[in-house]
Amino acid sequence: MSDMVTRTVRLTAPPDTVDTVHDLLDALWPSVPDVSARDRMSLDTAIIELAANVIQHANRGKPITATLTVIAFPDRIEATLSDSGEVGEVDIEGRSMPAADELAESGRGIALMKALVDTVEHRRVDGFNHWTLVREREQVRQPDAPPRHLPSVSISGIIDEMARQRALEEMGILDSPPEDRFDRVTRLAKQLFGVGGAKINLIDGDRQWSKSTAGYGDEVVPRDKAVCAVTIEDDRTFVVQDLLADPLLADRGVPGEVEFYAGHPLQAPGGERIGALCVYDGKPRQFSEREKEMLRDLADWVQQELTASHELSRAAEVQQGLLPQSLISMPDWDIAGMCLPARAVGGDFYDWYPVGEGAAITLADTMGKGIGSAIIAATVRAVLRSAARFGDVAGAVDLAAASLNADLDTTGLFVTLLHGRLDMDSGEFTYVDAGHGLTVVARRDGAIERLRSHTPPLGVDLETEWQSHSVILNPGDVLVTASDGLLDLYDGTLDALDKIGALALLASTSAEVTDAVRARARGVAPDDVTVVVVRRDG
């Protein structure tokens, strides 16, 4: 809209003061067409009161940052100030003007704001205070003024939209591949209502993206052409019998494809409306109360699936958090690892931690994928960590195997494992390989040696006697161990290990190797992919 004027300023106080805000306002007004002296005066005063209030009270001496945005619409002017101050509840309603003869020196700010503008609002969202002031402009109050089109954007709308967009992004569902659990719902909806199409749509920034489509329709539609973008403005079912006959919605319809529309909003776990389940048809039709009810039930189902994905992605965060975050400080050694589960969570993990004059290093692969494997993987990690504090490498694996055997037996799972200890001075790596067999040492001169596996996986044979072996890593040598998901990224054979060993010799840091594998695996790995690289500089 051409006669909408927006100005934004970021404040950091100290050193910024209300004078910074004054300067913004002085620069704003010449750009606003036909602003009356009274409107200008009232807004100047109210906005300065607000800024002063925030700067003065927000953080009691701690610096604050704030963003002030002023939007002048043809019919009203809105200002919002978002600040980082720690304010609890603000009683805007209850603030009245102190009596004049009390001669109070303070306490008039909020009452004055209320007297100057039509709306004073305070909300706390995501740890920020959002203050909104709105003043209707004087000129449009005149009864003879022609009606103006009100733009749908408003500042409180912008704040809601920010929260909505963040909730949507946190769900991590945007641009994800089709999933049968959602497609099942749209297929059913299409059949149930006998319509041309059904979709699960998510409203993302300025576009609508379809997570699932039964029937026809584009995967991406501009937001201002999407009917679901209107549906999410309210929490009720939205039905339009004939889009083309509705002057406000006609440009969102498609003749012969989308003339009828019914949609019900979908909420994120926090209640933000992130999209809608909708059905549509190429010709106008009725939609009964009973049909509305059924659509709502289906939308509830979709919402449950969305929440389940959300919880799964939280589980994924927890699992990633179990991987070693920091490097251990070992002069002349460089260790890096990566773990990319095929699904949200997986059965692979790697681990390292200081032990004596060196480090314990583990890479394990639980049979299977998904949540069940992930739970066992977390258990294996915990048991090995505590067992590693006692005895030697073989003793640790023996202790861990003994405590895990019952669990593995019950679940019918087994775990392949490389667990070793590196002596940082001598370069000796002492390890137990339990059915893993996916470890190579790339020598400085280019030779690649595979470390043999001598014992079966954990959970296979209770009578196994765990034996350790050792290999010396000399300066310039690199040890690489991986899960079998790595093989799938190459030709599926053990030759992949030689390739990764050769790559490790060319790379100048361990992280370069893990980054290269991550890039190769992204989006294509059918199985969990985990790699640990240990190089001795020199």
Binding site: T17, V18, D19, H22, A37, R38, M41, S42, D44, T45, I48, E49, A52, I55, Q56, M97, A99, A100, D101, L103, A104, E105, S106, R108, G109, A111, L112, A115, L116
Partner: protein, 111 residues
């Protein structure tokens, strides 16, 4: 903020602040009035003709001055207020205690 201080007629001290009378400038106004009272005088006229803007902090400073001068047996009066200052005085119901006079001369015209 720049504050001029001159002796006016009848022992009145005229304070003339310039610019924005907000939370940044308010302390200077309080101090100016205090220094006048400390020097043994208590009749103050604040010439607001150079003030383009006032907020509740600025008002607070004027009220503080009003109390300080009255306790010393004098008064604080204001003159030359622009429309914005008058609007704020009116909305805060302070016109009665801080009556805006047209000019400094009129402020103590009754004296």
């Amino acid at each position: 903020m720049k504050i001029d201080m001159v002796d006016g007629p009848g022992g009145v001290v005229v304070l003339k602040p310039e610019g924005r009378l907000n939370m940044v400038a308010a302390p200077a106004v309080r101090e100016a009035v205090s220094s006048i009272v400390d020097s043994g005088r208590s009749r103050v006229a604040v010439d607001l003709s150079g003030v383009e803007f006032i907020d509740s902090s600025g008002l607070g400073a004027l009220i503080s001055g009003l109390k300080t001068t009255r306790q010393a047996g004098g008064d604080l009066r204001i003159a030359g207020a622009n429309d914005q200052v008058k609007l704020v005085l009116s909305l805060t119901n302070l016109e009665r205690v801080l009556t805006p006079y047209d000019t400094v001369e009129n402020a103590y015209g009754d004296a």
